[in-house]
Amino acid sequence: MTVLTSGTLTGKNLHLSFGHNHVLRGIDLHVPQGTTASVIGPSGSGKSTLLRVMNRLIEPDQGDILLDGRSVLQDNPDELRRRIGMVFQQFNLFPHKTVVENVSLALHKLRRMPKDQARAEALEQLDLVGLRHKAEARPADLSGGQMQRVAIARALAMKPEVMFFDEATSALDPELVKGVLALMADLAQSGMTMVVVTHEMGFCRNVSDTVTFMDAGVVVETGSPDQLFTAPETDRLKRFLSDVL
């Protein structure tokens, strides 16, 4: 699989409040092109919000977002999001469309490909996640693991420069987690730039290049997996790791 050789993503001093709830309190996150950054932290620490702010599903109150060193805050946010694929915990496949339509919709409507070409392209993406034979099924007829792989194919079809995963395996039955994680690891291996919010500490350790530990809207520690897992510096991270490991 070919991956575009661009996509260094940087968030600088990002702040966001929901009303009086100051959820992001000056987050810095630097993801060099072709690397995988895992983001871990307790529930409610702002991990999902960080992803949504970095692709401008929610506009930050303060701070900057850079893609390949250039600020994207002045760009059209819809165009920014075409460059950043996103995969959700609950898959969020479109239930009224078939599997292949889920993947081809954006190719046809946003990339303006003719319907046949969008479909052919979508089938190819489905092939890469091993689900070409499910092309005509409805999402409701798939297992959770299959749904998530379709969601990944849907995001990859847009040829994004960066991929976001928000707890992509948390809603899956344990026996289905492996397949999705393997797919994500393959993708990381192939040189995709990825930000992965996860509770899968195995994936964090073995696949990611950097790990960022967030708590209460701030980055508490960031570094290589080895650094964070074998020599955590803060009490907060130590407590978190002893809870999850």
């Binding site: 692709n55 689900l131 299959q146």
Partner: protein
């Protein structure tokens, strides 16, 4: 003649029915369907506009939709039909030269149906999980495209039963435009039955009209139940074991 004979003669006088049925089928039925279907289609368009306004982030749009809906749902149908049909009648005649009460009758029915359908659509659209909008926007769709391609189609699907109920109401309410005065060729089912009753002093033509309404509405009622069950139970789920090997073996 005993009481039972009298009863049969009043309500089930086959001869009186037979005389009125051909007209009911050739004139009344098409007119009723024209009124109900056109105002149903226009009401859906108006309803969709009102629903989109009702959930818009623009407070003024929301307020207009709210006030409109409150007013048109709160008035008796016959009052709206009279006020619009008679009030706008002269201007309409001057503008178009047409004396048909149909356009204004359809307008009145549409304005009322739009208010109800707007609420139906709005509740349907709001019941779609926010993850759907988010997923579409994450792909790069604008708010408008995401709504029209992803959210609204799902919302409408969920309220199809309520929508069919609305069509049933329109079939029944279309009878009210008789108050605007109809030429012989413009009469719908009820008016034809009513005229025949006035002429003969026998209720059987109205019974025939009632039966004809039921022939239209009862299948629709059952269609509602069918759609409702289908939506609730859905097609039987056939989940299969995850074929992990396929994904891992192929690589990405």
């Amino acid at each position: 003649m005993d009481a039972f004979q009298q009863f049969l003669k009043t309500f089930f006088d086959w001869k009186a029915m037979g005389e009125v049925i051909p007209q009911m089928l050739t004139v009344g039925l098409p007119n009723t369907l024209i009124l109900a279907i056109i105002s149903g289609v226009l009401g859906c368009i108006l309803g969709l506009i009102l629903a989109v306004m009702g959930i818009s982030r623009n407070g003024v749009a929301r307020w207009i939709a709210r006030v409109y809906t409150d007013i048109l749902r709160g008035l008796p149908a016959i009052l709206v039909i009279l006020v619009i049909g008679i009030g706008l009648g002269p201007s309409f005649r001057m503008l178009t030269g047409s004396t048909s009460p149909f356009p204004l009758g359809i307008l009145a029915l549409t304005l009322m149906a739009g208010a109800y359908i707007g609420e139906i659509f709005r509740s349907g659209i709001q019941s779609v999980h926010t993850g759907q909008l988010e997923a579409a926007r994450a792909l790069g769709f604008s708010y408008g495209s995401a709504m029209f391609l992803v959210v609204i189609p799902q919302g409408i699907r969920r309220v199809l039963p309520a929508l069919v109920n609305q069509l049933i109401s329109l079939i029944k309410d279309s009878s009210l435009i008789y108050v605007l005065g109809l030429l012989a060729s413009q009469r719908e089912i009820f008016r034809i039955g009513n005229d025949a009753m006035s002429n003969s002093g026998n209720l059987s033509p109205l019974v025939a009209a009632g039966v004809l309404y039921l022939i239209l509405t009862i299948p629709l009622t059952h269609l509602v139940n069918f759609i409702d069950n289908r939506l609730r139970i859905g097609k039987p789920a056939k989940k299969e074991p995850d074929d992990v090997a396929a994904a891992v073996g192929k690589g990405v």
